[in-house]
């Protein structure tokens, strides 16, 4: 390299409070960390998800109970709060799924260029958000 290189900041020994807040993560970086975050979110809310599954298939009464839980609420949790949690889980699943498919594609082809890395990352983020909005609208009764 004979041209002058731009003086870029170096990040060694990353400090969470000082460096993470100033580091500009590329789109692929965002997809990656959100893939991890969405996974962890689903892990933490697994009992809630299983509770919903259980109620939904056990009986007509429990099915009614579940559908009304999203409007009337359950114990201390109001309906709108449960809907927001469900929305977060919907996004988590969709993002994790699309980012996962991106991973599988990269693993299978071994031929991803840097440009494709960026474009596929942006597509992943967009698809996740768009589908979340579509399903969220259904959840909140827009259609």
């Amino acid at each position: 390299m004979t041209q002058l290189k731009k003086q870029r900041p170096e990040f060694r020994n990353i400090n969470a409070l000082k460096d993470l807040t100033t580091y500009r993560l590329p789109p692929a970086g965002w997809v990656s960390i959100l893939h991890r975050v969405s996974g962890l979110l689903m892990f933490i809310f697994m009992p809630f998800i299983i509770w919903m599954f259980d109620k939904s298939i056990s009986s007509e009464l429990s099915y009614e109970y579940l559908t009304s839980a999203f409007s009337e609420g359950v114990s201390i949790y109001p309906g709108w709060f449960l809907k927001l949690v469900a929305l977060a889980l919907i996004w988590a699943y969709l993002h994790h799924f699309v980012a996962g498919v991106r991973h599988l594609y990269m693993d299978a082809t071994h031929a991803v260029s840097k440009e494709f890395g960026k474009s596929s990352a942006i597509a992943t983020l967009a698809i996740g958000v768009v589908l979340t909005v579509v399903l969220g609208a259904k959840l909140f009764g827009v259609y």
Partner: protein, 121 residues
């Protein structure tokens, strides 16, 4: 050179990288297929999704068996993912191994509960 053999040995695990990496991909593929199968049944059902329609999907024996397999696949998939998170961010060995244990108990309990709900039908 740190002393980490014999009685000073630190338990971190080893030689499971490729197996778990492969297992995560395989279970992911299986769960993706299951998602498509479930979605197709929901989308191609006629009328609103009542209890009969929804529970009916999971009443079929083949669907019960498939869902059972997917629950086990999910268990392994989540274990690998969560173990990776603990391994990346939790350096103290005692705390990390405790989290491993908690995670496994949590996951096995979740699997047991979902299988119980599935087979009550």
């Amino acid at each position: 050179m740190s002393v980490n053999f014999g009685s000073k040995r630190v338990v971190t695990g080893a030689h499971y990288g490729l197996r778990d990496w492969m297992a995560q991909r395989a279970t992911a593929l299986l769960m993706a297929l299951f998602t498509v199968i479930l979605l197709a049944q929901v989308i191609f059902s006629s009328g609103p999704i009542t209890y009969e329609v929804w529970a009916g999907i999971f009443a079929a024996q083949w669907m019960k068996v498939l869902t059972f397999v997917v629950i086990l696949a999910l268990l392994y998939h989540v274990w690998v993912g969560t173990r990776d998170i603990w391994m990346d961010y939790v350096k103290p060995v005692g705390l990390r191994l405790t989290l491993h244990l908690f995670t496994l108990v949590w996951l096995v309990a979740c699997a047991g509960w979902s299988i119980q709900a599935l087979w009550r039908l």
